[in-house]
Symmetry: C2
Subunit: 182 residues, 2 copies
Amino acid sequence: MMKKSETKIIEAGFSVFSANPTATLADVAKEAGVGRATLHRHYAGREDLMAALAMVAMQELDDAIEAATKDTPSYTEALRLSLVAIIPLADRQMFLANEPLDHVPEVLEAYTQQLDETAEAVEASKEEGGFDAAVPTAWIVQAIETLTYAAWTVVRDGDATPEEAAALAWRTLQSGLTGGAK
Amino acid sequence: MMKKSETKIIEAGFSVFSANPTATLADVAKEAGVGRATLHRHYAGREDLMAALAMVAMQELDDAIEAATKDTPSYTEALRLSLVAIIPLADRQMFLANEPLDHVPEVLEAYTQQLDETAEAVEASKEEGGFDAAVPTAWIVQAIETLTYAAWTVVRDGDATPEEAAALAWRTLQSGLTGGAK
DNA sequence: CAAAAATGAGACATATATGTCTCATGATGA
DNA sequence: TCATCATGAGACATATATGTCTCATTTTTG
């Protein structure tokens, strides 16, 4: 069964634009194995495609977090599970972080809301003793986001499995990387 | 004293392209407060400008690290000082990381060499006990790079001073962010 | 099988970024 | 002061990405 054109185009969009943000729609169509006209039939233009990519990325992230964090015993554990769940989607995360979302207020709102929810979870985790209350929440949120990206890159480069990378990222957040010898 | 046009154009390039990778040369010229023709007088075209930006970024990073790490007592301390020194230049770092450097082999080589040197410093630091030898060097290098970026963003967003951000990034690397309660 | 929908290929027109050139102006330096 | 140089503004030509359309073919659906 062949994938739907839309699916192929969206996937190619993430692939091509993450490699080269100035790539043309022809590049995307080619990568998707689809005629250029077909791309235009589904997405009116570059802006439309970008908006669609942003919405898909947002949705996938939301779904992954939602699925990972329901029925969790603590906020700290919820954060850890979110991190694990998001690692395979870090390219989506970075797409959202790098792309100017001004033209897609719907996504912009969802994105900031997601950051806010992470911040709330971090605050709650502080009360559980999961994080040092003296450390600014803004820093913890940022560290989670960037270490997720770090985990994704080492997986991409073949330097670790997703599980290993997730463990390393969480360890870094929790207890750092200090060695035993002194 | 007015800045030289070249300086203004380079600075505008970092600013504009980091906000929007698909920005036009006209956008850059406008941001630089310079005529579009002047931009073309200094840089033949988009590729030339990108290459120039990459080389400037590379040079600035090299210089900053060089200045920060000469006469340091240990590799671990050298890494810490490098991190501190690079934070104000994290936008340069990200420019290099995000831009396809295939067309600028000179910079590509310097970039990979810089990563190699960081890896070597991490290995050496492991022997000093600065980092856990059981943790993959690739992860530590990646964590350093992304936490540097994290530090830069919180500074940019006004959530911390450069000194605070540097301290947070280093603490995260060394001992994590765990709170007291268990 | 037959109708309907989706697609690929390509022609075509358009918009826009890019690159070149000229000329008048202002700055710089001898 | 005078000469040189860099610049801004704008005209202009070109290249390229974009967007639309048609038509034959394939795929899907009923």
